[in-house]
């Protein structure tokens, strides 16, 4: 058999054509890449780094571990031992005395306080006395407070002696340390986060559906009216879109509150008595109304852009072939608007899930969402718990996005 493999093509100076092409293209690719660099850096710096940092905080907290070298060594040497011995108490007293010098007992106590309430002053009190404590240290510490003997406290300290922890995720799923040091579900009055997660998703779903029902006819009207009239109407959609979120939210308060415009009007028309004023704000109703209004443009715009591209002749063809108007809508028009419905719904839902200012201002007691809890823990200086909650929200949204991709297909998304 003859060897028929052809000689590789070369350029005039003898380099293989493939390599020459690659090197010429590499330069072009580099230039193209340089154009993207500013945006890439911007996204990395303003988006990926903070999110990464936030995620890291949710499982890392060195407030305790950094201050207890001796105790951490004891925990390492005695894995699985739940009953602390004299050596453990000695290590603890050594660390407490050092904390007093470094002025860090508050830091260490704060970390333990996240899972065992009431321990900040315990640490501060014991640290003040630690330098004078005499062996046996166990008795010395127990004389300071009986809390030092609790299995719960020791379990919490063992967990916190490592900077990496799942504590915050456990707390974020409504669990708490039991007396024996294990984890248990919080009592009915203490559970909140799972409930709020579910509520946030249900409420966001409701807002999305209401937005869709309201936006569909508007978008259809915008898409079918003659240009001169539709651009006027479009301004009405866009004007609130351009107005500050805070201004819109505050205006809704003025409109909806019990001494507000709507109630005054209803009382004036004798629909309601002076005592029968309806409470429409500072509760869940207020949250739904205001969020629907604020998110409506995000539904109208994608729907409109899709509807405008649907030729009216399709519907006419369907009618001329004998379809009723309902069948025409259901079998011909609606399927063609699906990409817009999908895009608008995804947009509105994801925005609603993370909404914070509106529920904070008009939500009152029962209109609060999970984002308000995240903000609350940021304000209360428990950033790790805030991070754990935020991470759970992020994962939940990612899962929904994945499901959406699976069911509808992200390539069918059309934003305009």
């Amino acid at each position: 058999m003859a060897d028929i493999s052809p000689a590789p093509l070369t350029t005039s100076d003898g380099r293989p054509l493939k390599a020459a092409l690659a090197s010429a293209q590499a330069r072009a690719k580099w230039r193209a890449f340089l154009l993207v660099v500013p945006l890439l850096l911007f996204i990395v710096l303003t988006f990926l780094v903070p999110i990464g940092y936030m995620l890291q905080r949710s499982f890392q907290h060195d407030g305790f571990s950094a201050n207890v070298p001796a105790l951490a060594a004891w925990f390492d040497a005695n894995p699985g031992v739940t009953e602390p011995d004299e050596a453990a108490y000695k290590a603890l007293v050594t660390d407490l005395a050092q904390m007093q010098v470094d002025k860090t007992p508050g830091q260490a106590g704060t970390r333990i306080n996240y899972t065992v309430p009431g321990t900040i002053s315990l640490f501060k009190g014991a640290a003040r006395k630690a330098a004078e404590m005499q062996p046996p240290y166990k008795d010395a510490l127990l004389a300071d407070s009986a809390q030092w003997g609790e299995p719960k406290l020791w379990a919490a300290m063992r967990e916190a002696a490592s900077p990496y922890t799942t504590d915050f995720y456990r707390v974020a799923t409504d669990r708490k340390r039991a007396a024996d040091g294990g984890w248990e579900r919080g009592s009915d009055q203490e559970r909140i986060y799972i409930f709020l997660f579910v509520k946030t998703f249900l409420l966001s779903g409701a807002v999305t559906v209401i937005c869709l029902l309201l936006a569909f006819p508007i978008a259809h009207l915008l898409a079918t009216l003659p240009m001169s009239k539709s651009s006027l109407l479009m301004i009405l959609v866009l004007l609130p879109f351009w107005t500050s979120l805070l201004v819109r939210t505050s205006s809704w308060i003025a409109i909806l509150q019990e001494q507000g415009v709507i109630n005054d009007l209803l009382v004036w028309m004798h629909v309601l008595g002076e005592d029968g004023r309806v409470r429409m704000v500072y509760n869940q109703t207020g949250t739904v109304i205001v969020m629907t209004h604020i998110l409506l443009p995000f539904m109208v715009l994608p729907l409109y852009s899709v509807m405008r591209t649907i030729p009216p002749s399709y519907a006419r063809a369907a009618r001329s072939l004998g379809a009723t108007s309902w069948t025409t809508f259901r079998r011909v028009y609606l399927p063609q608007t699906l990409p817009g419905i999908a895009a608008g719904s995804l947009l509105v839902f994801i925005l609603a899930v993370g909404y914070y200012i509106t529920p904070a201002l008009v939500g009152g007691a029962d209109g609060q969402l999970i984002s308000n809890m995240i903000q609350f823990h940021m304000a209360k200086s428990n950033w790790s718990l805030a991070a754990a909650l935020a991470a759970m929200l992020l994962v939940a949204v990612m899962v929904l996005y994945w499901l959406y991709d699976r069911l509808i297909g992200i390539d069918r998304l059309k934003l305009g």
């Binding site: 780094v49 508050g106 309430p117 509150q257 609350f376 304000a379 209360k380």
Partner: protein, 356 residues
């Protein structure tokens, strides 16, 4: 990493003026006004240095965020006691200490002049403020007089408002339920005591609006949105006396505490900040502040200098939280209790709020 954060996070972004010699963060509204009139303006007049004031619903979280991000833009912040202690524990504040403070105008050394506990390692108290409840006098033919009346919807019908948070609310609820002021924190430290406080709050939960900023309660009362609200006593004084609003204050069951000045670690004008704090907590400045708002000065030597409100006719004494008549059933807020139980009780409070 910290540097990157500086670039990337705009947490609690604060307008920062380059010409400012000292930037002070406070709580806004009539309280900030009183500080501007009593501290900032005289300080500028005396030293020629500018003082810029920025407002926040609560400066403490902003201070923490700025220090953690390594981008501190305020020099002095006005915070509550538990926050001052916590931030100091976390090493987020510059130490100040009693030694740095000047003696009172009458020569009393600072250590004897300040009220007990008013100066900590990192903080100096300026005022004693109180959480009281106020009511709209036009809505009740018979005025409420006790803290229990706030929780009594049958005798005093009408909407209520309270601060959205556990602190002060739980204490007032227990006092309304008959717990003597001296036993409130011992009771609240037990699970039964907490249940008891929430049971009392349950009585008015359906009719209550929750406020967050100190300027909201007088607004809610003025709008007629609520008939009674818990509030900071100075805000109600400002609305009732200065603006002539028909508001009454009930001192029974008041919960008083200090507000303190702190200097965040890494403050851009640290030395200037300390000078400002020394000036603002001097006898005369503290006494002057009482001309503008009904909060008690933290120095004993200031008390004698407190006279009339800036309208020139209203005697301030009856409006001060520390006035003996107002102290008959009063509770000093325990920072030790709240440092330990803040997280736990607020979690419970949030769960209670969210549940229907």
């Amino acid at each position: 990493m910290k540097k990157l954060l500086v670039l990337t996070t705009a947490l609690s972004a604060v307008a920062y003026s380059a010409q400012a010699d000292v930037t002070v963060m406070s709580w806004g509204g009539s309280y900030t006004t009183s500080q501007v009139e009593a501290y900032h303006k005289p300080y500028t007049a005396a030293t020629g240095k500018n003082v810029v004031s920025v407002d926040s619903d609560n400066p403490a979280p902003a201070v923490k965020a700025m220090v953690e991000a390594g981008n501190v833009t305020v020099d002095v912040a006005d915070v509550e006691y538990a926050d001052a202690v916590r931030l100091c524990d976390d090493g987020m504040l510059e130490p100040i200490g009693m030694d740095a403070l000047p003696p009172g105008a009458d020569g009393t050394p600072a250590a004897d002049d300040f009220l007990p506990g008013a100066v900590t390692d990192c903080a100096v108290a300026t005022i004693v403020f109180s959480t009281i409840y106020a009511y709209d006098t036009t809505k009740f033919p018979e005025a409420p007089t006790t803290v229990a009346d706030f929780f009594n919807l049958e005798k005093f019908p009408g909407k209520r408002a309270m601060r959205k948070g556990a602190k002060a609310n739980l204490e007032m609820a227990l006092m309304a339920d008959g717990v003597p002021a001296a036993d409130v924190y011992a009771t609240l430290a037990t699970p039964e005591g907490v249940d008891r406080a929430f049971a009392e709050l349950d009585k008015i939960k359906k009719d209550t609006i929750w406020w967050e900023a100190g300027a909201q309660p007088p607004q809610l009362l003025a709008d007629g949105e609520v008939a009674m609200t818990t509030a900071y006593n100075g805000r109600i004084f400002a609305a009732a006396v200065a603006e002539g609003k028909p508001f009454g204050t009930v001192w029974d069951g008041q919960v008083y505490e200090y507000d303190l000045y702190v200097i965040p670690k890494g403050a851009p004008n640290k030395d200037e900040a300390l000078e400002f704090v020394k000036f603002a907590t001097s006898t005369q400045a503290l006494a002057d502040q009482a001309k503008w708002i009904a909060y008690g000065p933290s120095r004993k030597s200031s008390a004698a200098l407190v006279g009339l409100f800036n309208d020139g006719k209203t005697e301030m004494a009856p409006y001060m939280p520390t006035n003996p008549d107002n102290m008959k059933n009063a509770l000093g807020s325990s920072y030790e209790f709240w440092v330990d139980h803040d997280a736990e009780l607020n979690e419970r409070f949030n769960a209670w709020l969210a549940a229907n």
